[in-house]
């Protein structure tokens, strides 16, 4: 019963919608028609970006209302959210994940490290940025990117 009270007290916490980023929509995203399932791949991140992604799907930003959902297998996914610079150990798994995803698929590099290795550029354990391993369609900048930015980019992909 106390849970009922809490639900009643809290009400809706989801914030007002963020406007989608303007710009070109990738060809693959158009074919998905409003439903984007996402598989997150941590290719060597510091987990900062993961926190922001999970926060984007949390109650406040609620990315799920725009037709996006996190899924458990790249086979179910349309988009890969790759975070972090790609380390040597994660290069092969990342390639395999990309292989395992059915077309049409979108690769999103989330965070500065994923886009261009960020502060880890040239580090001994780093194989390169995400675009050096798999083709990247969308880049989300920021260290880490704010949830609003992630949600805005997501809305561009889902078109909702």
């Amino acid at each position: 019963m106390s849970l009922f009270d809490k639900i009643r007290r809290v009400g809706r916490v989801a914030e007002a919608p963020v406007a989608p980023t303007a710009g070109m929509v990738p060809e693959a995203a158009k074919r998905l028609r409003g439903s984007v399932q996402i598989r997150a791949v941590d290719a060597g991140s510091c987990n900062g970006c993961e926190l922001e992604i999970s926060s984007a799907f949390g109650p406040h930003y609620d990315a799920e209302r725009y037709g996006a959902r996190l899924v458990a297998s790249p086979r179910h996914a349309d988009a890969l959210f790759v975070t972090g610079p790609v380390t040597h150990n994660m290069a092969t798994p990342l390639r395999k994940t990309f292989e395992a995803t059915p077309a049409p698929k979108i690769v999103v590099a989330v965070g500065d490290c994923a886009c261009d290795c960020g502060v880890f550029k040239g580090a001994y354990g780093v194989a390169g940025a995400v675009c050096d391993v798999v083709p990247v369609d969308v880049e989300i900048r920021g260290c880490p990117p704010e949830p609003e930015v992630i949600v805005a980019e997501l809305r561009r992909l889902t078109g909702r």
Partner: protein
């Protein structure tokens, strides 16, 4: 089979296919609202299906025809159940095709093929999911059969048409010890069979806690769409089963078109209520530990058994 009988079947199958994703969508939306989120629109699962339909088909290497065949069997068995179960009218022309025992067996056909498909790629998680799914099914199945026994006693027949008609004629028979016990057992078993909380969490991302999801990790594109559609249909059909066994009011007893329309509206309304109730229940429930699942199913089995005993003694 008359034309109007055909209409009944088409309407039933249409509702089962058309509303199954909406039911899933309703569950997600209501859950989201209770969690303080806005949630996806109710039609989102349909969008997901439309997208999956247009995607690439991927078959893992080493798999056999079973893997490609299983989703088809899964959906097909659900379609047959939708055709023979009285969803909107008790005068379904296919009522004599199958009784409750056959319906339970048809659901098991889907479960078995999906479990085989989970084992087919030879991955550890697929095998794990199949093993757990069969453990749950092996224990939920007897509960369903026993509950069927308890309920069939009421109408002296295990054909759903006869049971529902008998209930409509003697509505008070629903309010009895054996009905209550059978209802409790049936609900627990149905939750287990549909892989819902507290037995399985359909939205988990952690493979080690998965039951149903672990089996379908390898499916992609249209095949995955079929599996998800079948999961939705299974939930809808179990919901309809429970609704029709315990509160069949509104269902058509003839095949006249207005009656069918009323039956369809009543069914959709009842399913919506059931969906909201399930969503609320899921917000309040945590998944139980895997090795407590058999205990829960043992409880449901015993409750079903008590229903049968009560039916035999209190009769």
């Amino acid at each position: 089979m008359t034309v109007r009988g055909g209409v009944v079947v088409v309407v039933q199958v249409g509702i089962a296919v058309g509303c199954a994703p909406l039911l899933i969508g309703l569950l997600r939306t209501v859950r989201a609202r209770l969690e303080g989120r806005a949630g996806p629109p109710v039609v989102q699962p349909w969008r997901d299906l439309r997208k999956l339909w247009a995607k690439e088909r991927i078959v893992p290497e080493h798999t056999s025809w079973i893997f490609a065949f299983a989703p088809v069997v899964l959906v097909s068995s659900a379609l047959v159940v939708a055709a023979i179960m009285p969803l909107v009218s008790t005068a379904s022309p296919f009522d004599h095709v199958g009784d409750l025992f056959a319906i339970v067996s048809l659901f098991l056909v889907g479960t078995v093929f999906l479990a085989l498909a989970g084992l087919d790629p030879g991955t550890a998680f697929g095998g794990m999911g199949a093993s757990r799914e069969m453990t749950v099914a092996a224990l939920a199945e007897p509960t369903l059969l026993l509950a069927v026994f308890a309920i069939a006693g009421r109408a002296q027949s295990s054909n759903l048409g006869a049971i529902v008609t008998a209930t409509l004629h003697a509505p008070r028979s629903v309010v009895s010890a054996q009905s209550l016990l059978a209802l409790v057992a049936l609900v627990i078993a149905a939750l287990a069979e549909c892989a819902r909380l507290p037995v399985d969490n359909p939205s988990t991302h952690l493979e080690l806690t998965m039951i149903h999801e672990a089996m379908v990790l390898e499916y992609a594109g249209p095949d995955l769409g079929l599996v998800e559609l079948a999961a939705g249909m299974r939930l809808l059909l179990f919901g309809t089963l429970i609704v029709n066994l315990f509160m069949p009011w509104g269902i058509a007893t003839r095949t006249a078109l207005p009656a069918i329309a009323i039956g369809a509206i009543a069914l959709v309304a009842k399913l919506a209520v059931l969906g909201v109730a399930l969503a609320v229940f899921e917000v309040f429930t945590a998944k139980i530990r895997l090795f407590r699942v058999p205990e829960l199913l043992a409880v449901s089995f015993v409750v079903a058994f008590l229903a049968v005993t009560a039916a035999a003694f209190l009769g």
